[in-house]
Symmetry: C2
DNA sequence: GCAAAAGTGTTGTACGTACACCCATGG
DNA sequence: CCATGGGTGTACGTACAACACTTTTGC
């Protein structure tokens, strides 16, 4: 049995995307008073775990991510460490810990990880009935400092998405240009001219059109595309010069 | 007296700049065998300290930075957390810890902070005789995983410097455009056309020319400039639109 | 007067932006 | 046949890249 390190954890902010926008994977946390049955806590948290003794941060994050999604090989990136004194010491968290204290310190440092998944790969199932996608622009009440952690993750996502083609991690393997445009629009909070957007994507040799179209839509079916990381890695060298 | 947290530290990568390039502030670490007097360890480290109980990460970083530079109000930014199992467990570090163990864990998680200082503000003095500026492109032997930490800090600096006007933190209050150009060239590893560079800076309203010139140089004296964070904050809103 | 860096303008190219119409499909 | 989104090209302006000569100072 692995022993946990009582004062160090990782927290994974898992982002997903569907036609209704950008989502975060949250777990519903409930605490009933054993005597009265009263709901003392009913909020949501991102998924985190304490790091095990002898374990790396990255391994702990992968483990956490696997536990919640059942998936491996998923985009995962460390983005910030949180260590404020109050983060597990609000009245609510003291209450939570008084019922669930498993040798956990009262000053837990947590390293935040950002993960991007194709939301169609995650089906809500019986094992994870308390887990669900929540819209990032309309979050429910959150535990700990998870509101802050999600905000910071989002900030990082917005930055990163402009510098590297990581947006594709949020799309199904085959996608249409409209889906791609909607994704970028909702991450960046802008809107793009459709013709200019398509022109720009057309220049990206690593976004490759397929001989495949949408089926069963009540309009002209859109062409599908795939992203090729290979082509990206081979062609990205060109853009290594900068301005200030 | 403050008690340290045995398994959590912060490490500050302090960057400076002078005419010979970009520098890191390093401390010489020496360990002599008490019996034979033989030098067991003679390398360099960035400055870090364990976090105290009841202390925030940011506070710990500020404290560390003050201890090494004697300065406050300096640019400081968290950039990455390091937690590999081996980072304090090489033969060398085991040896170091066997002579200097002050209740320090054998798996220390360290949060890396990046700091930028005007190197003319730091004078090597008697109190910090073991501290010196070392060129980032020619580092001496480093302890712990500090080579990796510095590399990651540098990567972050290169990214950040293109997105925000933080380069000025590395320059004296009053600087010439040549100094500024050299700074950007050596951080980004490129070179710029002088006329185009000056044209571009000319557009930045927050880089303000002074009625003051260089003195005592054997050529046409250059005009001095200052950076105004105020003007920057007021005018930066304009550039909040993006492309992919 | 010479060495060393400061300072200055023009032109071509590439890229971003703005904008309107026909096409294919399901119902 | 109609509603819905798919798909396409041109004209303009902005921003970046390339390039050479004159000026001021200390020695």
């Amino acid at each position: 049995m692995n022993k946990i390190i009582p004062n160090i954890s990782v927290d994974c902010v898992v982002f997903g995307f569907d036609s209704s926008g950008l989502k975060v994977l949250l777990r519903n946390r409930k605490l009933e008073c054993p005597e009265t049955g009263q709901l003392l806590i009913n909020d949501h948290t991102i998924t985190g775990f304490h790091v095990y003794e002898g374990e790396d941060l990255d391994s702990a994050a992968q483990r956490t991510l696997f536990n919640i999604t059942g998936l491996t090989g998923i985009y995962l990136e460390q983005f910030y460490a949180f260590g404020s004194v109050e983060r597990v010491n609000s009245e609510k968290e003291k209450c939570w810990r008084s019922y669930n204290n498993l040798g956990i310190s009262d000053h837990v440092f947590s390293v935040g990880y950002l993960s991007l998944v194709d939301s169609t790969k995650i089906k809500p199932d019986q094992e994870h009935a308390d887990v669900s996608w929540m819209p990032v622009d309309n979050l429910p009440e959150l535990g700990f400092d998870h509101k802050e952690i999600i905000a910071k993750a989002l900030e990082r996502l917005r930055l990163k998405v402009r510098l590297e083609p990581i947006g594709f991690e949020l799309l199904p393997e085959k996608f249409t240009l409209r889906e791609m445009q909607e994704l970028y629009e909702c991450i960046l909070g802008t809107s793009f001219d459709r013709r200019n957007f398509r022109k720009k994507i057309g220049q990206m040799k690593y976004v490759i059109p397929l001989n495949e179209k949408q089926k069963g839509v009540a309009h002209k079916p859109a062409q599908k595309y795939i992203f090729s990381r290979d082509v990206y890695e081979r062609t990205k060298i060109e853009k290594l010069d900068f301005s200030i």
